[in-house]
Symmetry: C2
Subunit: 877 residues, 2 copies
């Protein structure tokens, strides 16, 4: 095997080498190249990290050798010597992955000190206090990070010393105190670790490198990666950099600054600094840092030098920069620069401004944006000031974004009542069920004790754009007694609470919210996105209200209207139930006849809301038992209402029970068994379209979508029924109306036999929720129990229900798309699962040539941006 | 479109044209070609039938024209004229599909008669009785078959006339009586149908052809096709043949004969005939036919002519022939020949004899056999005489073949007790569950009220080779009261019943059974099969007993040992349950330690039974709740037994409940969560192999199979645990032992990512039961409810759980095989679902290059034969 290069001097790298050197390392190299004052050093590459893991957490000899070579070169560059008493080279050791993972991994400063070097440093700087302060910091950090001796052990010693000295601040301890502290630290170390604190700087360095590599896999980093979809295979680099000291006296200091305001995007230098301090002092917050503008007064030359560097960096990177700097005895050093994190609002403003300033093209500006960030602009948020005062009483799954504040209701009925009384409501339930729909719509937010990202509550809430925090396991709900307990407190109906569906936090009080604000920049960005995308964006909407929201967000049609959601309304469910308990086709038809005018009205509403854009209507999908109660008491009540005996109704309920309902009697299997259901739905779809057309409003082309197809003959059986009924109505009305019939592809077999199905299906829509379930053999309702362990054991890095699994499910989609096109060249291909609004999944859909994605209304702008980015990266021919 | 040829004279066809002309038509043509005396005519092809259906059940003009042309040619050949009074051509109209479907479709004889022609016929034959007998038969048949007027209407008239005349037999009615009968028949026809009975012979002919085409789709034909896996797209041909009359007097007759004895295979002419009769009289059974040998005495010349024809036909077709003939006024006519149906025993003897006689090669002899037929030779059967006297009281799904007779038990415990008392037992249950295993093994047969071919009862019974009739919906079982009701009778515990798992019949009495008899021919055939096959045949076996049975049937290893079946034994389940309720890893390990010696013993038994052949052991697969009771009363009892509170155990049971258990916490997901289970099972597998090796018995190569993999990382997680434990044990014993680790491919995603999985998996075994479930999105437990409608509506023709779906599931298997081989060239590929013993699925497995199939012990010989046939048809390079 060829010997690989694992170590790069800053002068050997550049900004494009992020994958190899990490973001920090690549930018340190870039700053070096463009002549900025950077303390020199070298980067141990991410490949070394991967090698460290594949070698079984061992630092191979060749890597060690390269590190030592790097060190020698550093000594030459700096003119200092590592471990030398008279002219010591001290270094910092910092992690730096491909993308920034703030605070997730470890850092060690002041490395290179030992009991001899510290003396030399004291002499050299003529500042013993500084030398011993640096040394005690090093002992503490190195013991904690590299050797696993928790830093709280040392904090106790510091506290005790301050008590003995009768002082309050660390800074009040003098050089002798700190010298004594070092002694005590070392004694503690020996007591706990059974060996002396390491004196050999080279050994210190290698241990520190390993510690950083290990920190790549610490639990908080693993969690961060999962949430942010960062593969564990990337690894982290390690940056070894010559120390500069902001704590050398009043001519020294350290600070952080942004080239623009990260909260608003305003174009002005923004940041703060602290004289005579190291970075950790700024964080500790004991002394208050100064705003960066104050530096101008303190040292105008230095300030001007910094402004000029900041401008240079922003122009160089063509993006807002987040910079760290240190001043050592009046000399400015740049320690880091990176594209700065910013709020959604700032991100849009900066993108638009950079284009105006001629720094970026529209395409490049679009690529700089993080589509998911737009979400924050589309939902109500907590007032920033109010939030500062609020203390969370719990945290669970952020299941549907936005902030909500209101009074507690424990039933859907009560939520509706309170809503009618003009109150804002937060619905709190063990878990929601389809009958709760109306109550959910009447609530500002929904909090559940059970269920995951794809639970009923989460899916419906996201569709409605309602805030939802789900699966709060600590939440003890007593729905009967109308109270819940959380964080030791008991809440009753009518008590105020607040939830944040973007963060998952729960607050035991009212917290002021502010409505979504969409600035003018947002419109500009969306226009650019539409200009550069080819993938269409539709929405999943079941009501005219949702449809209107989506239309305003730019949806180009409805990709999925779930007709069953309409079946649960209080005025309809009796007819639905009558249909279910029917014993003959005639009885069933009679019940369906009652539903027809209501369904028709729904569709008229949807067509009008979409103003002539295509509307895809999926026929009845869920198993029929979902429309019936399951508790004996409820069955009794309903039986009475329906004029049945308890036994009759109970028998129907029992008869509909299934062992695996997900794979049972649902989808088009219902239409095969009861063609009269499909007939009624066809009639409603077509008659509604004719009505809208006759009114001279819009020329709708309804798209009828058959769910759960697994076989072409099965599809054709239902398709033929639909076509017959539709053609009869159209002929009898003597009107010209076009409609389409297609199918969901959500069963693996449908994907595998898509060429056959495409012979008669005019469009496919990939139902990636079910397709993911069947392809993995995972029941969404049950997988939560074991998937956590899969994440913990690093078997899975992402939730396949949130991010499309391109290797498996995606392969099936690709197969189906190719087979479908082989039969029907112009087949329309869409996706309508939860994944339709996920940017990486949108990119995948663009790349394999789908016609559109369909997502919940509040994800439409996200999908539009993601689709534009996908086409900019990989233009479709 | 080029004009197609739909009509073929017999002289235009030959035996190879079965697909186009049907079996009967092709053979009539062949007999014509080799110069046998065949009444001439023509065949309307199967393509015409398909066209008839695709045209919307209309006989297209061009087909009508071709039929009329055929008729003209027939007139020329026979010198008779259709519809002519003086020299009338009469024809028979018979169905004839590609394969024989006896009695499934319709036939009309004597067509061409009307009120004028019948007079002419009477004059011409000088036999008015014959003429009017033929005419009244025609009216009856044509009305029934072609025009839908049920024949029972006519039977009533016949009965009334016999009563009036004071006679008992039809033959006692004279010419005038029959003339009167014709009158009455026509009057009835007019009354019922509101029009005159058709007089136009050409119209009669076209109606008859359409009637035969329609009969292709009658319910019994549809059912027959489904059971026999005949595609509906084949269609039937129609044969129009000049009539010859066996009922023209004492020099006429009709008969049926086989060239060999269809029951034993003995080489001697076998059959019977009846003078002065038409075919239907033989069937009616009023007069007793004579054995064919008697013809020699009656008319030696004719007999010799027939023997010579029979020999010629057998040599020509190189198979035992089933022939129909008619003698008209002393002249012999052949009406049909086909390869005769035969018993399994006869089939083997005939195949072996034909090779001995030099008529067939071994390969051709193997191809003549129907693998499924072997099944009959491997299970006990009812004594033929005893069966004649028994009357079925019900019929349900033939779920596991063989005959069983015994006393009724309603619980597994009671079955065991009765078995210990030396009684033969038939276990009768609503449905069986895993706890019933021991009781099922103690029974001769199993009868259930619920469940299909793949229900627990069916699967386990087939595995055990125990007879099972399942899903008898009429069966009302009261397990508490220990009685069941069927056919109006009540049966109590201890009452005798019998069931036939090959036919599905249930008898309310003891019926004598005879054990399986395997003749010497069986061995010969199996030796030939082994000589010509390359696909290996393994068995699914969980116990040494099953393994021995399979070994004796020629199994070359175990392809699937389900370890969970061992967990249900009464002496183990306490430890299993202890493991399930464990709250810590230590507790769980303690419980598992108790299971270890038992599992080890099982594996030692299996290794020894297989005498060193490979044994594939699948690790724990089912969800844990299957090992716990679900009724409160049982939970209470168990809690007491286990020293837990009811609430504790109830909580565990509730916690394990899943919405869709099929897609829940099972398979290797258990091993990911509880690695200690996999560790224990590995220990048992490896230690058992070492033990057997140390005893100097056999050098076993155990194959550890991980179930339910969906991802390579997931597989590797478990694989690494298994490998670590195995290697530790082997190293500590200082022994040389090889083992393999592979996985089931039973989740679509595993198939789609098989290239990744094959990097570490040494073998794949396709679990086609689960793969079929996931690929179709069908829950086996629930699909029964709607699949019947799918068959009824002709959406599905086969049960995908019985016959491998090659278009969908098969495509996934092919993808996985190809991907697997792309990574690991020599990967071992097997199949271990229910399909492993299905001949068409075996052929598919051969064709796509699998290494082996694994099936239940009693299907091993079937698979061996099917594998040989597959390789003869499509030799593997």
């Amino acid at each position: 095997m060829a010997k690989n290069k694992y170590v790069y001097l800053f002068s050997e790298g550049n900004a494009k080498m992020k994958n190899l050197l990490g973001g920090k390392g690549a930018n340190l190299a870039e700053m070096t190249n463009i002549g900025l004052p950077v303390p020199q050093g070298f980067t141990v590459s991410t490949e070394a990290c991967c090698r460290y893991y594949s070698d079984g957490k061992i630092l191979a000899d060749d890597i060690v050798k390269q590190i030592m070579d790097g060190l020698s070169k550093m000594e030459k560059i700096t003119g200092k010597k590592f471990g030398d008493k008279t002219n010591p080279l001290l270094v910092s050791v910092r992690s730096g992955a491909r993308v920034s993972m703030p605070g997730m991994m470890d850092t060690i400063l002041n490395l290179g000190l030992n009991s001899e070097v510290v003396e030399g440093l004291a002499e050299l700087t003529n500042n013993p206090r500084f030398a011993y302060d640096s040394y005690r910091r090093f002992i503490q950090m190195f013991s904690d990070v590299a050797l696993g001796l928790d830093k709280s052990n040392f904090e106790k010693i510091i506290d005790k010393m301050k008590e003995e000295k009768g002082v309050k601040l660390d800074t009040e301890l003098d050089a002798n105190d700190l010298k004594e502290m070092v002694k005590r630290f070392k004694a503690l170390f020996k007591k706990e670790m059974k060996y002396e604190f390491p004196e050999d700087p080279k050994m210190q360095l290698l241990e520190a490198v390993k510690a950083v590599f290990r920190s790549w896999d610490n639990p908080r980093a693993v969690y961060y990666r999962r949430v942010n979809e960062i593969p564990s295979s990337w690894g982290t680099a390690v940056n070894i950099q010559s120390m500069v000291f902001g704590n050398m006296g009043e001519q020294s200091g350290t600070g952080v600054a942004f080239t623009r305001d990260p909260a608003t995007g305003e174009k002005k230098l923004y940041g703060e600094y602290l004289m005579n301090a190291q970075g950790e002092d700024v964080v500790a917050g004991i002394r208050t840092p100064q705003p960066i503008s104050h530096l101008k007064e303190q040292n105008e030359d230095l300030y001007n030098q910094f402004v000029s560097i900041a401008n240079k960096l922003e122009k160089h990177y063509r993006d807002m920069q987040d910079m760290e700097f240190t001043i050592e005895n009046g000399k400015l050093y740049m320690l880091q620069t990176r594209n700065g994190k910013r709020t959604a609002k700032a991100a849009l403003k900066i993108a638009v401004d950079l284009v105006k300033e001629g720094m970026l093209s529209e395409k490049d500006a679009l690529l700089k944006l993080e589509p998911k960030q737009l979400d924050a602009l589309l939902h109500p948020q907590f007032d920033a000031e109010a939030l500062k005062k609020a203390k969370p009483i719990g945290k669970a799954l952020p299941a549907s974004p936005g902030a909500a504040s209101g009074v507690v209701a424990f039933t859907a009925e009560r939520a509706i009542e309170l809503h009618k009384e003009g109150k804002k409501v937060v619905l709190v339930r063990l878990e929601t069920s389809p009958e709760d729909i109306e109550g959910m719509a009447a609530s500002e937010g929904i909090l559940t004790a059970r269920g995951g990202r794809t639970s009923h509550a989460a899916v419906v809430a996201r569709g409605m754009g309602t805030a939802c925090v789900a699966g709060c396991q600590e939440l003890v709900v007593d729905e009967e007694a109308k109270k819940f307990k959380l964080d030791g407190k008991t809440f009753k109906e009518g008590d105020a609470i607040s939830i944040d569906g973007s963060t998952g936090f729960i607050y035991g009080e009212a917290v002021k919210t502010v409505p979504a604000s969409i600035s003018g920049d947002f419109g500009t960005i969306m226009n650019w996105a539409d200009k550069y995308r080819v993938l269409q964006v539709r929405t999943n909407a079941d009501t005219p209200n949702d449809a209107k929201t989506a239309f305003n967000f730019g949806a180009e049609g409805i990709g999925l209207c779930r007709t069953e959601h309409m079946f649960f309304d209080a005025d309809r469910i009796p007819a639905v139930r009558e249909m279910i308990v029917s014993k003959t086709v005639e009885e069933r038809k009679r019940a369906l006849k009652k539903l027809l005018p209501m369904q028709k009205k729904d569709f008229i509403g949807l067509y009008k809301a979409m103003q002539g854009k295509p509307v895809t209507i999926r026929f009845l999908d869920p198993p029929l038992h979902e429309f019936l109660p399951h508790e004996d008491s409820e069955i009794k009540a309903l039986a009475k209402e329906m004029g049945l005996t308890f036994e009759e109704l109970k028998e129907t309920v029992e008869g509909l029970k299934e062992v695996n309902p997900m794979m049972g009697h649902r989808g088009l299997r219902l239409a095969v068994t009861y063609p009269e259901i499909a007939e009624m739905q066809t009639r409603a779809v077509i008659e509604a379209a004719i009505k809208v057309k006759e009114e001279g409003k819009f020329d709708v082309v309804p798209e009828i979508m058959i769910p759960l197809t697994c076989d072409s003959k099965e599809f054709n059986f239902v398709r033929d029924i639909v076509a017959r009924v539709a053609d009869e109505i159209i002929a009898s009305k003597g009107i010209n109306l076009t409609y389409k019939i297609g199918t969901m592809i959500e069963i693996p077999r449908a994907a595998l036999t898509a060429d056959e199905i495409a012979k008669t299906a005019q469009f496919f829509s990939f139902g990636t929720n079910d397709l993911t379930q069947m392809t993995y053999g995972f029941s969404r309702d049950d997988a939560g129990k074991f998937l956590d362990i899969y994440y913990e054991r690093k078997i899975f890095e992402n939730d396949p229900f949130a991010r499309l699994d391109q290797n498996g499910v995606g392969k099936l989609i690709k197969i189906a798309s190719d087979l479908g096109k082989s039969t029907r060249k112009d087949i329309k291909l869409g996706i309508c699962g939860e994944h339709g609004g996920d940017p990486s999944s949108v990119e995948f859909c663009h790349n394999i040539g789908l016609t559109y994605v369909s997502c919940s209304p509040f994800r439409v702008p996200i999908a539009r941006l993601a689709a534009a980015q996908a086409n900019i990266k990989n233009p479709r021919k």
